[in-house]
Assembly symmetry: C2
Amino acid sequence: MDPFAALGDPVRRDLVARLSRAPARVVDLAADQAISRPAVSRHLRLLAEAGLVVAEDRGRERHYRLQPSGLDPVTDWLAGLEPPARFAASALDGLDLEVRRTTRERSADRAADRSTHTTTEETA
Amino acid sequence: MDPFAALGDPVRRDLVARLSRAPARVVDLAADQAISRPAVSRHLRLLAEAGLVVAEDRGRERHYRLQPSGLDPVTDWLAGLEPPARFAASALDGLDLEVRRTTRERSADRAADRSTHTTTEETA
DNA sequence: CGAATAGGTAACCGATAGGTTACCAATGAG
DNA sequence: CTCATTGGTAACCTATCGGTTACCTATTCG
């Protein structure tokens, strides 16, 4: 499932937002969702397939964390829209300073991410 | 249908991208889609309900155009993610200059948009 | 060891998405 | 006026989504 479709579901958006704040275990994620744990589990699998989150097994627990690069297709698509639409992208105005400040670190982060980690990603 | 779900469909994304370049009639939009015109028509209705496009009747033709503000929920959500995720938002880096340059005009544009136009929007 | 906890998977089910064809109303052109 | 063009709507069908319950495995803890 592509990132766009993945973010089409409000529960999955909520999970992503939650994970953007901190990694979490499945039970904890399921705790503040109105649906059953298996349902959350499946949403997480989809998010992993979409490249938006990564799972890491720690003993009997599975910790999910956000994979920021998974959002690239979305931001890229928005960025690819013609000028008239880009006006809307300026909703990110408030972030300009911070984002630009962190750009260099982020490139390094992404590179490291691809090489060192051996975390799950597909098999949720 | 909310903008996220609306953009979850590749055909609709394509329509939005197309309309970001220029307004167009339904036939023209349907022309370069692999699906039937009624199907495109329904996609357009959904996009209008999501606030992403606006329709304007001109004689027997209906011209659809992009409504940039419809993307705000998306960019806002992305902007609302915690720092780690914002790194991905820097995919918009290349746009920073242009976006900031046009910010003022855009505010004016949005304001004008809400008051003067009386175009359709819901009834596709 | 045995019990509890974490979490994935399977089977099932109702609702919805998205496609098609057929049809209709309205406008514009010859 | 007549006919072609534009485009929405309805009815229908299939596939997929998202939820549930039931079940199983693996790890940790007393």
